[in-house]
C-alpha cells in the first residue's frame, strides 16, 4: 500500500523538455489546452445553466425561437479565427522542423523489426542507444529494413515515420543532459513494444570521450570503401577515369543529367536508389542493365556506409549548401576522358 502511495507521489504528468524544439511546441500545446478548456467550460456552463433555469415547470411553456443568423455567424467565424492562429503557429513550427540547420551533425538510423541501429559518421555503431552532445543540432537520416516504423523521442517532441523504400529525416537540438526514452510509434509487429531505447544527451566533453573510441572498423566512409571493393563496384566505377559506369568523385549533391532529359540532384535518396535499383535512373550517355540490382543484396546499413564513402569523395560539401542552380554535371560517356567538374560555390541563401 505504502509503495503504491509513493508511486503516486512521483506520478509524472508532463514530459521533460530536453530539446530546443520542445519549448515552442509546448507553448502551442498550452495555448490549445487553454482554448479547449475555456470552450469546454463555456459549453458545460451553458448546458448546466440552461438545463436548470429552463427546467420543466408546470404552467411554463417553451418559447419557440427560430434561430439567429448573427449568432450563427458569430459562433462560426470567431472560433475559426482562433483556429487560424493554431493553424499558422503549428505550420510555422512544422516548417522549421523540416529544415535542419547547415551545421547539423548527421547520424544514421536504420529501423528493423524490432531494433534501432544507429551509425555515426566516425564509424561508431549502436543498437537502441543514441548518444548526442548537448547544444549540437543533430540531423537523423533514417531508413527501414522492413516495415514502417516511427522514430519518436517524446522529451524532444520529435517524431517521424521511417518508411521502407526511401530516406526520412528529422532533426533536433538537445538542450538538457540526461537519458530519455526512444520509442517506435508505428505498429510494426510482434515486438513493437520492444522497439524502444534510450537517448543519452551528454555535455560536449563527455561526448568526445564517449566517441573517441571510434569505430573499430574505421569511419563510416572507410567502412563504405571496404564494401565498395568487396561488392566489386570499383571495377566499373573508376575513380579518376571513365569506366563503364559514371565516375563517383565530386558527385555528391551535384545535379546529374539523366538519359530521359531530366536533371536530378545526387543526394542520399538518389544514391540509395541508384545502388539498389540502378536502372531506375540512367545517367545520360550510359547504358542500362550494366550494373546488377542490389536490392535484397545489401542492407540499409551497408547502403548508408556506401553513401558515406561516396560522400567522402566530394570533400567539403555540406549538404545544405548545394543548390540546384548550378549547371548539371555532365558525366562523359565511356570512352571520352572524364572532365573534372568545377569546384562547388556556396549557393545563395534560400
Amino acid at each position: 500500500m505504502l509503495a503504491r502511495l509513493l508511486f503516486l507521489a512521483d506520478l509524472e504528468l508532463f514530459p521533460p523538455a530536453a530539446s530546443a524544439q520542445a519549448g515552442p511546441i509546448d507553448d502551442l500545446y498550452w495555448f490549445e489546452v487553454i482554448v479547449s478548456a475555456i470552450m469546454t467550460v463555456l459549453i458545460f456552463a451553458a448546458i448546466v445553466l440552461f438545463a436548470w433555469k429552463y427546467r420543466r415547470r408546470p404552467g411554463v411553456e417553451a418559447v419557440q425561437i427560430e434561430g439567429s443568423t448573427p449568432l450563427e455567424l458569430t459562433w462560426s467565424i470567431l472560433p475559426f479565427l482562433v483556429m487560424l492562429v493554431m493553424f499558422g503557429w503549428g505550420a510555422q513550427l512544422y516548417f522549421a522542423a523540416q529544415q535542419p540547420p547547415k551545421d547539423a551533425m548527421e547520424i544514421f538510423v536504420t529501423g528493423k523489426q524490432w531494433m534501432w541501429k544507429i551509425q555515426y559518421p566516425d564509424g561508431n555503431r549502436e543498437i537502441d542507444e543514441l548518444h548526442v552532445p548537448v547544444g549540437q543540432p543533430v540531423k537523423l537520416t533514417m531508413a527501414s529494413e522492413d516495415v514502417i516504423h516511427s522514430f519518436s523521442i517524446p522529451a524532444f517532441r520529435i517524431r517521424h515515420d521511417v518508411v521502407p523504400g526511401h530516406y526520412d529525416s528529422v532533426w533536433f537540438t538537445p538542450t538538457k543532459p540526461g537519458r530519455y526514452h526512444l520509442f517506435c510509434t508505428e505498429y510494426c509487429g510482434n515486438q513493437h513494444a520492444g522497439m524502444i531505447g534510450w537517448v543519452t544527451v551528454m555535455d560536449q566533453r563527455a561526448y568526445n570521450n564517449w566517441a573517441s573510441g571510434g569505430g573499430s572498423q574505421g569511419t563510416l566512409a572507410e567502412q563504405g570503401e571496404k564494401l565498395f571493393q568487396q561488392f566489386g563496384c570499383a571495377t566499373c566505377h573508376l575513380l579518376d577515369q571513365q569506366g563503364r559506369c559514371p565516375v563517383l568523385r565530386d558527385l555528391y549533391n551535384k545535379p546529374v543529367q539523366l538519359s530521359d532529359g531530366r536533371t536530378v540532384l545526387a543526394d542520399d535518396a538518389y544514391l540509395r536508389e541508384s545502388i539498389l535499383e540502378p536502372n531506375a535512373k540512367i545517367v545520360r550517355g550510359f547504358e542500362p542493365n550494366v550494373m546488377p540490382n542490389f536490392r535484397g543484396q545489401v542492407s540499409e546499413e551497408n547502403v548508408i556506409q556506401l553513401i558515406g564513402y561516396i560522400k567522402s569523395l566530394s570533400p567539403q560539401t555540406p549538404a545544405s549548401q548545394q543548390g540546384s542552380q548550378q549547371p548539371p554535371v555532365v558525366l562523359a560517356p565511356p570512352g571520352t576522358p572524364a572532365k573534372a567538374s568545377p569546384k562547388p560555390k556556396p549557393a545563395p541563401g534560400r
Binding site: 417553451a62 419557440q64 483556429m83 493553424f87 523504400g165 520492444g194
Partner: protein
C-alpha cells in the same frame, strides 16, 4: 410476446403490429420489413459490440502491469480485433442500420425503404462479413490493427489477414447498400408536404451519411482488393521490395477511413438533434444551419485524409493544405454543438434518460472535437501522433460521442420499437455509470499521450503504470455500465409497462402512429402540413 399470465387485462385484443403479425424464424430471416431488418441488425451489432468490448477489457487487463500479462501475440490480436469489430461491425452500421433503418421511412411518411430486398441483402452481407472476421479470430486472429498498414499486412504478418480483410470488404458492401437505400428513399419516398426543409434533422444527417457511404466505401473495397493481390500474388503495389509504395496504401485507406469517421458520428448528431428538441419542447435552434452543417461535414470529410500522414514524409505544402482543411471541418461540428446548447434556451427541459445521454454526448463530443484541433495543428500533431493522445481523442468522439448517441437513440425510440417502457431509475443510473466510467478510462490517456506513451504497446515503461491502472479501472466501470441496459432492456420486453403511442409528447410522424408500428407503418399516406419540431402547437405537453 405478452403472455396471458402477465397481461390478463390488456391482452384481450392485442393489436396487430410488425412484431406479432408473423412468427417463426422464416418470417424474420426472409422479411423485407425495414423494422424487422433493423431489429436483426440491432441484435447483430449488439453481439459484435460485446465481442469487441470483451477484447478491450482483456487488453486493458494486460496493461495493468508495465511488462504486460499476456504474450505480445495475444495482445496484438486483441487490439486488432477490437478495432476491426468496433469500427466496421459496430460503429459504421450502428445508427444507420438500426435506428435510421427503422425510422427514416416512418419519419418521411413512407411504407418502407425504396429497396426492401436490398435492405435484407445488406444485412446478409453484414452477417457474412462478420462471420469471416470471426473465422479469422477463431483460427488465430489477425495482428495488423484495424488500419491494415502495408507492407506489414501484405508481406510480414503471419496472421489471418485475408479472412479478416475479406470480412471487412463484404461488410463494406452492406454499408454501401444501406447508404444507397437511404439516398433513394429520401429523394423519392417523402410523403406529400414533406419538403426538404421539413425533414427531421435525423433524416438530414443520415442522408449525408449515405452520401459518404456510397462515395467512400468503394475505395476501401479497392484498397483491400489491392492488398489481397499483393499478399496472394506478390504483385508489387505497396511493398517497396517488389516495387510498390507503402504510402499509396495510406492514401487509399484514409481516403475512405477519414470520411468513415463521419459515417460513425453524423447519424449520432442526428439523434442528438431529435432528443434536444423533444426534451426541450422546442424546435432545434438554427434548423437550417444544423441541416447544412451535416452536408458540409459530408463534403469536407473527403478532403482531410492527409492529416493522418503528416509524419510520412509528405511535402510540407501538402501538410499545410490538409491542416487548414482539417480546421475547416471543425467549424460545422462546432455549429451543431452551439445550436444544440441554444435549443434549451427558453425551453422546457426535462431530464429523461435520452436527454441524459444527449448531455453526455455534447460534453464528450466537445472534448473529442477540441482535442482534434491539437491534431489538425501540424506541430502538436507531430508531438502526439501515434500516442495515447490519439486513442483518447477518437474514443471521445466515437465512444463518448457515437455510443452515447446510439444509447440515447435506443432509449428514445425503444418505446416505439417495442411498445414497452424500460425502468427509468435503472436507465438513469446506467447513463451515469457509463459517463463516469468513460471519463475515467479515457481522460488519463490524454496525459499518457503527451507523456509519449505509444499506442499498440503490450508493455510500457513503469512510470506510465499509474495512469494505465486508472484507465483499466475506468474500463471495468464502463463495461459494467454497458451490461446494465442489456439486462433491463431485455426485461422490459416482457415486463415493461406499455408505452403508448407517444410517451415523450414528441412531434414527428413516428410518434403519431401505433407503438409498435404496423408492418406498413401508416394506414393511409400521411399529408404533412407543418415543419419538424412544431412544439409550439403540439398538444398535450408532457409534464
Amino acid at each position: 410476446m405478452a403472455t396471458l399470465a402477465h397481461h390478463s387485462a390488456e391482452t384481450e385484443i392485442e393489436p396487430v403490429d410488425y412484431l406479432n403479425v408473423e412468427f417463426g424464424w422464416k418470417s424474420w430471416l426472409l422479411t423485407t420489413d425495414h423494422k424487422r431488418i433493423a431489429m436483426l441488425y440491432l441484435i447483430s451489432i449488439t453481439l459484435m459490440f460485446f465481442v469487441g468490448g470483451a477484447a478491450a477489457v482483456a487488453f486493458r487487463i494486460n496493461l495493468l502491469e508495465p511488462e504486460g500479462i499476456f504474450a505480445p501475440e495475444t495482445y496484438n490480436r486483441l487490439f486488432s480485433m477490437h478495432g476491426i469489430v468496433m469500427v466496421f461491425f459496430f460503429l459504421v452500421p450502428s445508427i444507420p442500420a438500426t435506428l435510421a433503418n427503422f425510422f427514416i421511412p416512418i419519419m418521411i411518411g413512407a411504407k418502407d425503404l425504396a429497396f426492401p430486398r436490398v435492405n435484407l441483402l445488406s444485412w446478409y452481407l453484414y452477417v457474412i462479413g462478420a462471420a469471416f472476421t470471426m473465422y479469422a479470430v477463431l483460427r488465430g486472429g489477425v495482428d495488423t490493427g484495424w488500419t491494415f498498414y502495408t507492407p506489414y499486412s501484405s508481406t510480414y504478418s503471419n496472421s489471418y489477414v485475408l479472412a479478416a480483410a475479406f470480412g471487412v470488404f463484404t461488410a463494406g458492401f452492406s454499408s454501401i447498400l444501406t447508404g444507397l437505400n437511404f439516398i433513394v428513399t429520401v429523394h423519392k419516398m417523402r410523403a406529400p408536404g414533406m419538403t426538404w426543409s421539413r425533414l427531421p434533422l435525423f433524416v438530414w444527417s443520415n442522408y449525408a451519411t449515405g452520401l459518404i457511404q456510397v462515395l467512400g466505401t468503394p475505395v476501401l473495397a479497392i484498397t483491400l482488393l489491392l492488398l489481397a493481390f499483393e499478399r496472394i500474388a506478390k504483385v508489387g503495389i505497396f511493398d517497396p521490395n517488389i516495387g510498390g509504395d507503402p504510402i499509396l496504401f495510406q492514401h487509399l485507406f484514409w481516403f475512405y477511413s477519414h470520411p468513415a469517421v463521419y459515417i460513425m458520428i453524423l447519424p449520432g448528431m442526428g439523434v442528438i438533434s431529435e432528443i434536444m428538441a423533444c426534451f426541450s419542447r422546442k424546435r432545434v435552434f438554427g434548423y437550417n444551419f444544423v441541416a447544412f452543417s451535416s452536408m458540409a461535414i459530408a463534403v469536407l470529410s473527403f478532403v482531410v485524409w492527409g492529416h493522418h500522414m503528416f509524419l510520412t514524409g509528405e511535402s510540407m505544402y501538402t501538410g499545410i493544405a490538409f491542416s487548414i482543411l482539417s480546421f475547416l471541418v471543425a467549424v460545422p461540428s462546432a455549429i451543431k454543438v452551439f445550436n444544440w446548447t441554444a435549443t434549451m434556451y427558453k425551453g422546457s427541459v426535462s431530464f429523461d434518460t435520452p436527454m441524459l445521454y444527449a448531455f453526455g454526448f455534447i460534453g464528450l463530443f466537445t472534448i473529442g472535437g477540441l482535442t482534434g484541433l491539437f491534431l489538425a495543428s501540424l506541430a502538436t500533431d507531430v508531438a502526439t501522433h501515434g500516442t495515447y493522445f490519439i486513442v483518447a481523442h477518437f474514443h471521445y468522439v466515437m465512444v463518448g460521442g457515437m455510443v452515447m448517441a446510439f444509447l440515447g437513440g435506443v432509449h428514445f425510440w425503444w418505446p416505439k420499437m417495442t411498445g414497452r417502457m424500460y425502468p427509468e431509475a435503472w436507465s438513469k443510473f446506467a447513463a451515469l455509470i457509463i459517463f463516469l466510467g468513460f471519463n475515467l478510462t479515457f481522460f488519463p490517456q490524454f496525459i499518457l499521450g503527451y507523456l509519449g506513451m505509444p499506442r499498440r504497446y503490450h508493455a510500457y515503461p513503469p512510470e506510465f503504470q499509474m495512469l494505465n491502472v486508472l484507465s483499466t479501472a475506468g474500463a471495468s466501470v464502463l463495461g459494467i455500465g454497458y451490461l446494465i441496459p442489456i439486462v433491463y432492456m431485455l426485461w422490459s420486453l416482457k415486463y415493461g409497462p406499455k408505452a403508448g403511442n407517444n410517451p415523450w409528447g414528441a412531434t414527428g410522424l413516428e410518434w403519431k402512429i401505433q407503438s409498435p408500428p404496423t408492418t406498413f407503418n401508416f394506414d393511409e399516406t400521411p399529408i404533412v402540413t407543418e415543419e419538424a419540431y412544431n412544439y409550439g402547437e403540439a398538444e398535450g405537453v408532457h409534464g
